[in-house]
Each structure stands twice: as structure tokens, then as C-alpha cells.
Symmetry: C2
Subunit: 242 residues, 2 copies
DNA sequence: TTTCAACTCCCCAGAAACAGCGAGGGGAGA
DNA sequence: TCTCCCCTCGCTGTTTCTGGGGAGTTGAAA
């Protein structure tokens, strides 16, 4: 935790981030950041609505591979917890009570992760979601000190890192050319809050058939296989809010 | 734009933000921030999916009233533009081409807004969306200098301001009932990605009826009226990740 | 040990959603 | 002007989902 002394000025870090020119640089940069902050691990983990993931960081490749293979995304308390939170969170404040979570934590530590963690959720339009995580092995007081002193720097670094990562991933930015029309949004929203088609049609004062046209149109635009899928995608992409 | 000299240390500003105790303080703080940054206006504008809005800032009350009355939220190029963006944006880079946008801009300036603006989008779970905006009247070079030098401070201030505003927001009740069982999570997740019940049952290697029991159980736990509603609620509450 | 929640399986009838065909009016932008 | 998208409405048949029953095993917590 003595990395604080050797941490380059934040300006320098951010400028290097802004000046980097290729996706491969991101891995180098995050290693540099990890060393600069003097922690065991630093990770950037991006998730989109389709379940695609991208990440770079300093976790052991074996752990990353296992994480992906086992679909740990769906049980990872860090992801699940941050997904519902607005702000950066210390891992200690997450919910580790379930058996699956404890097993996950134990396995992660077997692969070299530390006992402390701090994750910053980052969001974009259309449900874009990413995590910037710092992981370390140390006792609680040291960790609390680190978080308190480095919180602001980490927020800025996470922000800039995400910005840079997005520049190299044009395909990651969802095809937003298919925005839903206002009526489609209303229709999908009503279904998402539990209305049946007939009820939704009544609420919008249109025929049920017309409502159905909106649903079908929205389904097509969202590339959804059925109505439930369409509602889920609209929610994931932030096109509707319930 | 000479406010830069009088700007208190960022630490001081953030600490005052963290220490504020009541929603009414927010208005005082943002006025102080406006003066500290030496700009004409500074505004925090929070929007949720239901069309509810909350804001504080230094725009003329007449303008705010008119904005709300006319439902300008739906045509405001700043809101529309930032909603689709990941990162802070200069108003010059927004799309002002439509007739409605130009009329809106002209009217805003009649109410005392400056010609320059810089807005920072802020997002939370469940589509929470807020804007932190700086507005000023000056020429382009001065504005560019201001943005370049103050960008990082503004990002942090926006972040902390949003965090504080959310503490006072009663509408953001956690409302997490009982958690779903692992099987229920799997079932709901598969439906959310477009599987039919039969497909989902096949994927989980269980009978369709068993799958149905999970769906019904999840529906009950989530207080949902139908399957689509259950999927929407599970997504909104971050119980599943799609 | 008992209890309880989770997991697994089966039947049936009615309600709802799906998929495909069609049509016309209106407004904004090229 | 003309095109394209949005909004509105109708019909028919097939597939799927919903909601009401009941019943057995397992494992973990009380």
C-alpha cells in the first residue's frame, strides 16, 4: 500500500490514457496503473445486454477463463451488487451471504485475488455497463485508508479508462439506429409493468390490434424473438424504464 | 471566466458536498459552485423514466416553469443528445438542426441562458439519468479554455452532486423482496433472452412443467402479474443480468 | 428430528399471444 | 413534390402461456 508515494501525478496518468492509440495499449496501461496505485490487481470489465463481455486487467488468465466458462457473471456478487448501485462500492458492503457467493469468493482467492476490493460502476446509454475494479490483499484499516485517499482518483481514472475503451470498440456501441417510436415505447412500457395486450390497448385508447402492431414493430427493431424478449431488451438498453 | 482564480480547492467543495445534510442545501451549494467556477449558470437536472423531474440550479425560475409546462424535456437537444452519449459534451457538438431545437435555443437565451454550455450525463441503475450542466455567455476560445481546464473538476463535482441528490431522493426505494432461487434465476434469465418455455426447459434439462413452476414461483416472489412483468421486474431489480 | 424451502414431475381447460394477410391518413424531411 | 415513417384499424388460424389442481425427493437449517 506504499504505492501512494510512487503514484505519478494523476494528470500524467490521464494524459497517457488520452494519448493511447490502440486497444492493445489498454492492457499495458492498466498494468501500469496497477503498479502506480500499488495494488495487487486492477481490472476493467465491460458487459453488454447480449451477455458479451470484454475485459482487461491483471487477474490470472486462468481465473478469467474459468470465470467466463462457468458463467460467473450471473452469480458474481460484485457484478450483481454494482449493477444495482449508483456509486463506487467497497466489496465488504456487498452481499456475500449466499452459499454460491462464498464459494465464488473462495475460488477467486485460490486464483490469486486479494481479500479487499473496490469497484466503480460505469454506465452509458442503451444499458452499457462496465466495472472498474481495484483488488488487493491487506487488512481492513490499510484498505480503508487507501479507499479514502484514492477514491477520487479512481473515479476519474475509471471514467477516462472507460471512455478510451469505448473508442476502440465501435461495435460495442449498440446499433442505436433502431430507436423505438413513442407509441412503441408506451406499448412496451405497459407490457413491462404487467398489462396484458388488451389492458395496454385500453390504456392507450387504441385497438388491441394496433397495439399488437407496435409490439411487433418493436420486436423487429429490437431483434427480439418474442414479446418478453423485446421487453427485456428494451429495459437492458435503457429504452424504457419501469 | 476569471472565476478560476477564486475557485476554492476542489477538496473543499467536495467536502462541503459530502457534509451537507438537507435537500435545501443543494440549491445553496450549486449557487456557490456557480460563483466558484465563475460561470453564469450551473444546473443539476434529474429525470426518471416516468417523466418525473427534479432539478436545482441557477436558471431563471420563469424558464424552469416554462420548460416544465411545455414539456421541453422531450425536445431539449441537450437532454436528447446527452441521453445517447457516454461522456460529457459541449453544447456545440449537439444536434441543433431541427426547427424545434432552434426555437428552443432562442427562447432559452431570451430567458437569460448563455450561448455556451457543457453537460455531463450521469447514470444509475434502472435507467436513472441526470444531467449536470454549466452554462455561460462568452466567445468560443474562452469557452474552450474553460472546458479544457475544468473538465475533470466538473466530472467529479457532477458525480458527488448526484450522489448527494440521490440520498435525498425518496423515490429510490430499494424495494427488494425475497431473492430468487438459482433455478428461478436461470429460468427467468432464459426467458429474458428470448427462449420459449419449451426451449428453456430443454436448455435446463428439466420438464416444461417444472420450468413452469419456477416461473410461477418467481412471479409470486416478484409480485408480478404475468411472466413478462416478472422478467421486467427481475431485470429492474438487477436480479438477473441479460 | 423435524421442518421448510428448493427441486422435480404430471394433467387439463381457457385465455392470451403469435404470425400472416390486408388497408388508409398524416406529418416531416429530401 | 414525393417518399418514408408513424399511427390507426380489420380478419383468421395456430401456438403458447396461464392458473387450477396434486405428489414425491433432497438438503439445510432450526
Amino acid at each position: 500500500m506504499d504505492g501512494l508515494a510512487t503514484l505519478p501525478r494523476l494528470e500524467t496518468v490521464l494524459e497517457r490514457l488520452e494519448g493511447s492509440a490502440a486497444l492493445e495499449d489498454m492492457q499495458d496501461i492498466i498494468v501500469g496503473l496497477r503498479d502506480a496505485f500499488g495494488v495487487d490487481h486492477m481490472v476493467y470489465h465491460w458487459v453488454n445486454g447480449n451477455g458479451d463481455q470484454y475485459g482487461c486487467g491483471t487477474y490470472a488468465p486462468e481465473w478469467v477463463e474459468r470465470y467466463l466458462e462457468q458463467g460467473y457473471l450471473r452469480i458474481d456478487p460484485v457484478v450483481l451488487g454494482c449493477f444495482q448501485r449508483f456509486h463506487p462500492v467497497d466489496w465488504k458492503r456487498l452481499d456475500w451471504s449466499s452459499k454460491a457467493a462464498r464459494a465464488f469468493q473462495k475460488e477467486a482467492m485460490d486464483y490469486g485475488l486479494g481479500n479487499q476490493g473496490y469497484s466503480i460502476p460505469i454506465r452509458g446509454p442503451n444499458g452499457q455497463f462496465a466495472l472498474f475494479t481495484v483488488n488487493h490483499r491487506c487488512d481492513d484499516p490499510d484498505w480503508a485508508t487507501f479507499c479514502a485517499t484514492k477514491r477520487r482518483d479512481l473515479i476519474l481514472v475509471a471514467h477516462y479508462f472507460n471512455q478510451k475503451a469505448l473508442e476502440f470498440e465501435p461495435g460495442r456501441i449498440p446499433e442505436q439506429g433502431q430507436a423505438l417510436s413513442p407509441r412503441e415505447v408506451e406499448a412496451i412500457t405497459l407490457l413491462a409493468v404487467g398489462y396484458s395486450r388488451a389492458q395496454a390497448a385500453g390504456e392507450l385508447s387504441i385497438s388491441e390490434h394496433t397495439l399488437r402492431v407496435y409490439i411487433e414493430s418493436a420486436r423487429f427493431k429490437l431483434g427480439a424473438l418474442n414479446t418478453t424478449h423485446a421487453v427485456a431488451r428494451a429495459l437492458s438498453r435503457g429504452l424504457i424504464v419501469v
